[in-house]
Every structure is written in C-alpha cells, then in structure tokens.
Assembly symmetry: none
Homo-oligomer: 335 residues x 2
Amino acid sequence: MVNRSKVTIHDIASRAGVGVGTVSRVLNDHPNVSPKAKAAVRAAIAELGYRPSSAAKTLRTNRTHVLGFITDTIASTPYAGQITRGAQATAWQYGKILLLVNSEGDVTLENAAVETMLDRQVEGIIYATMYHRAVTPPASIKAVPSVLLDCFDVEHALPSVVPDDRRGGYRATEILIERGHRRIGYLNQEDPIVARTLRMEGCRAALADHGIAFDDALVAYGNSDPDGGYAAMRDLLGRGVSLTAVFCFNDRMAMGAYDAIREYGLKVPRDIAVIGYDNQELIAASLRPSLSTMELPHYAMGVWAVRYLLEEQPPSTNGPIQAKLECPFVERQSL
Amino acid sequence: MVNRSKVTIHDIASRAGVGVGTVSRVLNDHPNVSPKAKAAVRAAIAELGYRPSSAAKTLRTNRTHVLGFITDTIASTPYAGQITRGAQATAWQYGKILLLVNSEGDVTLENAAVETMLDRQVEGIIYATMYHRAVTPPASIKAVPSVLLDCFDVEHALPSVVPDDRRGGYRATEILIERGHRRIGYLNQEDPIVARTLRMEGCRAALADHGIAFDDALVAYGNSDPDGGYAAMRDLLGRGVSLTAVFCFNDRMAMGAYDAIREYGLKVPRDIAVIGYDNQELIAASLRPSLSTMELPHYAMGVWAVRYLLEEQPPSTNGPIQAKLECPFVERQSL
C-alpha cells in the first residue's frame, strides 16, 4: 500500500507538466489559472491519489468541520448509546463529523486522544461518561470549546449537561402517590453514586410534600443489576414489610424484583406496582408486564452538548452553564 | 543476496529500472502504468521476494498512530459494544488511537467520515457493522489498509472477519442432542438474514449427522426480540407440538420464550431446555434461570481486525482472507 500522504505537490506539478505555483493556485481555487492547466492538475491529483494535508486545508478554510467526542465506555457498553446517537445526529445536521474515542477510562489513552484531536484541529470537544458522576477531564480539552456530558467537574469550571435525577426521583415518587400508594419500597443500589443521592433526595421531598413520613424499613440495597434487585426485593418481602409499590434504582434492578415478586406468588402490578429508572432499551419494554420508568435523557443530552458547542451562547454571569435535563416518565403496564 | 524482510519498494524500483511512484502504482493496481513497467515491477517483486504489507509499513515513515473505525450503529445501540472494546484495547496495546465514527447507516455521512479519516491520514480503516451481513463499503476505504468486521462484501474483495454462525448453529444443536434431546424446537427470526440462514444450515447438519429428521412443525417465526420470542413460543406450545428443548435465534427471543413457557405452567429447564445465541450482556446472565447460549465473538473480532491491520500478513493466494471466528458455548442453567 502506498501512503498517499507521501505524494507532494511537486509530484503533482511534475505529472501535470506545470509549475508548483500553478498546483498551489488550483488547490486554493485561485482564479488565475488556465482551464487547461487546471484540468491537468486535477487529473494528476486524481491519478496520484493526492490528499492535501489536513493542516493546509484548515488554513484555507479555518474550519475542520470535526468535533471530538471522548467517552469512557459509552461506545462499548449497552447502557448509554443514545448519547452517541443524539450527538451524532445533531452534529451531522450542522455538517460536522463526530470523531469518537472510547477510552475505557484509561487516563493515558484519554490524554493521547485529546492530543490527537487537538492535532487534528477539532472545533470542539465533548467529554461524556456512561453514568452521571464527577470527573476530572484532561486539562487540555480547554484548548478548544468543550462541554461535559452526563458528568461534571466539581469546580463547575466547565459547562456541563446532566440528567435532573433529583427531579426524576421526585416525580417517580409523586406518580406512585398520585395513584394511591402510601407504602412505597425503595430498591436502592449499594454505591452512593450521584444519581442515588439525588433520586433519594427527590423521593424524600415528594413524600414530605404529601405528608408521608419516610420509613427506613422500606429501603433495601443491592448491586445495581438484576441479581441485586432480586436480592433486595426478597429482603423486603422476607422481612414482611407492608408495601403496595416499589421504586427501583434502575430497570435492571426492577428486572430482578419482578422475579422475586413472582416467586412470592405475587403479581405486578396487582399486588405490587413497580417503577424503574433509565428506560433501558433492552429491558423496560421487554419485561412482562412492561415496565413504567423514568427515562434518562441520553439522546437529549447528546443533542444539547452539540448545540452548545455549535451555537452562539448568551453571555453568562454565573460561570459556565450547568444544565439539568428532565427525565421523562414513560408509562407502561407495571403501575 | 537480499534479505527479504528488508526489501523496500526502492529496491524494487531499482531492480525494475523504474521510479518508486511506478512501483506504488503497480502495488495499488493503479490503471496508469504501462504493461512493460508493470511486468518489470512484478518480475522484481518475485525475484526479491518482496511482501507488500511490509512495504506499507516501510513507507509509513510519517506514522500518525491513528486507525479509523467506521460503524453503522455499534456505538449507539446495546448490541455489539464488545467489538469496540476489543478493537480499542488491541489498538492501544500497539500504541494506536482508534477514531470512531458511528454513521447510523447514513451513506453520505459514511463517505464524509472516510474522507475525514483519509485527510487525517489514518494508518488503516476498520469498517464494522452491528450484525453479520453483506455490505458495500465506501470504495475510498481501499486507499489505506482496510478490513471489514462482522460483515463482508459479496465479491470478497476486502479482508473480513465474521462469526462462524454455521458452526455455532451446529454446536448448539449438537449440545442439545448430546443431552438427550430429540424433539428440538426452533424459534427463528422472520428476516432471512445471513445469521439465520447459516445457523439453520448448521442445525440441519447436526440433526442429519445424528440421524434425526428435520421436522418443519418444530419451527416457529417471530421478530428477533422478546415479544417475537414470546409469540413464537406460544405458537409452538399452542399447536401442541411435542418438544423437550428449544433453540432460540437470539437471547432476546429466549427472554420472551421464558415468559411463554412460564405462562403454560412449564419450567425451564425441567420441562423445556432453552439455548440462546449472542450472549447478550444485559439478558443472558440476568434471566432466571440464567440462559445457556452461544456467544457472538464480538471482542475477539475487534482484536482480530486490529491485529490484521497492524501485523504482517502471510501472502495470500486466494484473495483477501475471510476469517470466521468461533461462537463459544456459554453454559448456564437453562439446559
């Protein structure tokens, strides 16, 4: 294979039988070139497979039409792919290509990825994580307009967009209360991640606003997966806790909760209403009965981040914007 | 005596009495080479025992350490992310960055992505799809070493790596037979995609090799999702078909089949053994009982494709390699 980058404008000039200056004028769409010379140069370019270096092209247009997208595991895990989809679709609407690097959280790779993107003069960088959390992104991303997606830096030094998990926890609880539930179980994940803290704050606020006391006996913990949800639900049922509904930290825990509820001879939603969180593509609509849940706004965050980079922003007096997007309620058959 | 491993295209050019550009055009099957020059270059290549792939490496004096990875929807859907993970991990072992574009199958975007990658002088391009199928990739990917991943072009003009779906279908059926099953149901997906065809070929071969007649009454069709599996399983059970095991086209269909089996008051695996396909992260291990399945070699295909681009290849006499990777059996509790 020939590396076409080795073809120079000297090769083009020689092949076309013209001077280097003529080649350069053709490449730059300069008007002062004879049609014959222009045709000869273009033929030589095609024959030799010449590609002007990206740097030279950028110097001419000042725009690369490329955005960088750095993620930990979004491209390699089944959890948040809609972020990519929303960002990609929006970038393409603006005529921009999204170049993505999936670092698996490897800091050295992440730094190398940013360097690679900056070398290639991306117009902006989106730094995205698979779940809502605090991050310390490579400092070098500040060399171009950049935005954090589904994450934030603790100093709020960079603009960010995250799900409004507090409001989502509030709404999920309120929806159960509106349907007459007073004894609501919580299947919580063990790790005190941001989403757990915010959703529980929302739950407690909703209960308080409706005059219902929070009862610690209604909370059980487990891994944030079906086995964890199964164990936590069995824990609640095994303790004989009286409840008519359960709010699961995520749809995966709800999947396990369904199995536990079934093993106790109970039915969803007749005996226990279940609400999940995430609207995880492969699970929520596929469970029987299908699962009502609060959707993580993955697609919407992808759209937001690209628009933020490409559209003029109003001046901010309070530091970089920290956007929180709503987690919409998706109603199915489990309530 | 020339050391074969050190032969460069300069040696070829010198031996053939032509310029280096002519050698590269011959190597690239460029049309604009005189028959005489072409014959001289080919004679020199044969005499010197020259290997084009090492030439590609030698020519790449100005390496970018970047590989391009173009996919339809791998980065945005929950189905095949391990491809990205395998490719990424392997590229990084070689000190290469994988720049990924997720095109959502948009041909214009795909072409623009290839142009962007070539402008940025990627050392090679991987063109990957979310499921095993025939594709027509942008012709321009041939400008650099390139390989198809989880797909193939019908002319086999490009190297490719795909799952060995025929062998997987054979093994799945054989495993059921080895455990004493003779009446095996097939929950098949409706669309006659490559994987369905190959897996069914494998099934039939395994049955034949064990002297079991194929019975059309044991096959039911549905969408390749839990609802489709549920409907197809209810179809089989509703028809009163006698069976002791069922082979599902994928884990998602198996998920629905579980629900149908349960609704008929039957138990997995006591009454009906179930085997899936894919080893879909979010489903197979999470079902209760956990699902035995044939794993799609997503990670291994990612590894293979990157190694193919970055390691010296033995000369091929039969055109570009068309690799088929094994789909390993993952045993859990549904058999």
